[in-house]
């Protein structure tokens, strides 16, 4: 079981929904914010965030940590993340197991790492520094990827698991990203789920993607497809009642439509946990 209690079923907070959230107070258990959108203390984003925070639990999700990058950790960024966390008191803070650029450049992408012992040592050291600075454990999310490096010595889940064990950090498991990467790298998604240490998984992401003939591209701009729902069911069976949210980054739909999709997650999650409980009764 995860180390913190489940928050239930959440959505990614998007500016397109600010007004609808405040006006209708929808049936969403919690929101995940994109940390980078709120680092400046002021302006419209913080204005709405303060109000939404009064009504809903929040978690922070970043895209700029570049935990696998080989430039020094960005101390200014970490200070801003800490300052935001001190203000809005999120239940947890997450970022991605990836790198985003070197030599000061930000490629604004979540780029995959070679799965090597060298990379593990490098990342474990950086995660420890980040956790010491923030004074809390962080969650690392698996990204979708399209390339495998010839130097990789292990599977992605072994890599993720080793880092989290050695650095004592937690996991944000993106179910869609597992599905996409499984198609692109020809592994069985279920093997990924079974290779991840259960006690470290703190949160799930669900999202949509684009399918091509021989591969899939993670776009986070479409409805969740049936194979991802099936994989989610398997994930709930293995990891239990883990905080689940739908992450939609583009082609933002009306809140109501996303609420319907979230209800589907609730249904699958609820039924799976119920039947698991019964089978153990």
């Amino acid at each position: 079981m995860p180390s913190l209690p489940s928050l239930g079923y959440g959505l990614g907070l998007r500016k397109e929904h600010y007004h609808a959230i405040l006006e209708t107070e929808p049936n969403v258990d919690w929101f995940e914010i994109l940390s980078e959108n709120y680092l400046v203390a002021g302006g419209k984003p913080r204005f709405f965030l303060e109000r939404i925070r009064e009504r809903y639990p929040l978690v922070m999700h970043g895209v700029s940590l570049s935990i696998g990058g080989t430039d020094p950790l960005d101390r200014d960024y970490l200070k801003q993340i800490k300052a935001l966390a001190d203000t809005i008191e999120p239940h947890w803070i997450s970022d991605h197991l990836c790198w985003t650029g070197v030599e000061g450049i930000n490629l604004h992408d979540l780029l995959p790492l070679p799965y090597t012992e060298e990379a593990i040592r490098h990342i474990v050291d950086r995660v420890k520094q980040v956790q010491d600075f923030l004074g809390r454990r962080i969650l690392l999310e698996n990204v979708s990827s399209y390339i495998t490096y010839t130097d990789s010595q292990m599977s992605e889940w072994e890599f993720l698991g080793a880092i989290c064990e050695q650095a004592d950090c937690l996991i944000l498991l993106d179910i869609n990203n597992i599905h996409v990467s499984a198609l692109n790298h020809d592994f069985a998604a279920i093997d990924y789920l079974e290779g991840v240490p259960v006690e470290r998984v703190q949160q799930f992401h669900l999202a949509g993607h684009s399918d091509y003939t021989n591969y899939a591209v993670d776009t986070h701009d479409a409805d969740i497809v049936q194979p991802v729902w099936d994989l989610y069911e398997k994930a709930v069976e293995r990891f239990g009642n883990v905080s689940t949210m739908i992450e939609r980054d583009d082609n933002i739909l009306p809140l109501e439509t996303l609420l319907n999709e979230l209800d589907q997650a609730r249904r699958i999650g609820g039924e799976t946990i119920h039947s698991e409980l019964n089978s153990h009764a």
Partner: protein, 268 residues
């Protein structure tokens, strides 16, 4: 590739995205149905599209003026020249106005650089930190003997004034309202535009006459009220100066542009 350290791999991958460098190809595994070229192509294409989209978000009116093809060419040239060093992609594009003003392909259409300048200022005002403005009462509370040394601290949302030779703001308004296009026109007199955000989170802008523009600039640079009055002699008769200068200050407070009044340095 002789050096296969984590850093060397990342440098090679980055150069593939930014410059089309092919060294990384030898470090990637391809499969029959999904070639190395297609795999890397997903990253290189996404890299450019993401940055072009970010520029399009920041500069919708420049996009409209140039059309899809023209804007794509501009964005591509800008991305090659100024790759992002920003944490948030929202800040990418900060040098587009200067880029347009200097680049041989666009510098002969100075309206474009003005439009870029205006749009980036709107974004700057929108994104700036929160502030608490003073009301005009604060001005009434300044004792007469402190007026000469009075200085102002302006709102963090107030942008560098824009100096325009073209009807850029009118064009922007027409584009923003999606109304009928109006022709670009060179102005008879250059205009100074002030851009800021009020406490109701609305972005505001207005043009200034030349004396107000000068006074505003001088006060932003830290000059005091006495220096402003001296300088206004350039445009006004002696007897009208004090009232005109006080009128500016009053207006700036009404506009929610002022966060502090300092009189300390010249207290008697």
């Amino acid at each position: 590739m002789p050096d296969r350290s984590l850093r060397a791999i990342q440098q090679a991958m980055q150069q593939c995205l930014t410059d089309g460098d092919e060294r990384i190809r030898s470090l990637i595994v391809g499969t029959p149905g999904f070639s190395i070229e297609t795999r890397l192509g997903i990253y290189t294409e996404a890299y450019r599209l993401r940055l072009i989209d970010a520029l399009g978000d920041a500069y919708p009116a420049v996009h409209t003026l140039l059309g899809d093809e023209g804007f794509h060419a501009l964005a591509t040239a800008y991305i090659d020249r100024h790759p992002s060093h920003f944490r948030s992609i929202r800040w990418f594009g900060d040098r587009l106005a200067t880029f347009l003003a200097d680049h041989p392909a666009w510098k002969d259409t100075p309206l474009l650089a003005e439009m870029a300048r205006f749009e980036w200022s709107l974004r700057g005002a929108f994104d700036a930190a929160d502030f608490t403005p003073l009301t005009t009462q604060a001005l009434h509370d300044v004792p007469p003997e402190h007026w000469a040394g009075l200085r102002l601290v302006f709102s963090p949302t107030l942008q560098e004034p824009c100096y325009f030779n073209w009807n850029s703001v009118k064009l922007w308004q027409a584009i923003d309202a999606e109304s009928d296009p109006i022709p670009p026109q060179r102005l008879a007199q250059p205009e100074t535009w002030l851009i800021w955000r009020n406490t109701e989170q609305q972005t505001r802008f207005r043009s200034l006459l030349v004396d107000e523009a000068w006074a505003m600039n001088s006060m932003r640079q830290g000059q005091d009220f006495a220096a402003i009055c001296d300088g206004l002699g350039e445009w006004l008769d002696e007897e009208h100066i004090a009232a005109r200068a006080a009128g500016f200050l009053h207006q700036w407070l009404e506009d929610e542009l002022v966060v502090a009044i300092e009189t300390g340095n010249t207290s008697p």
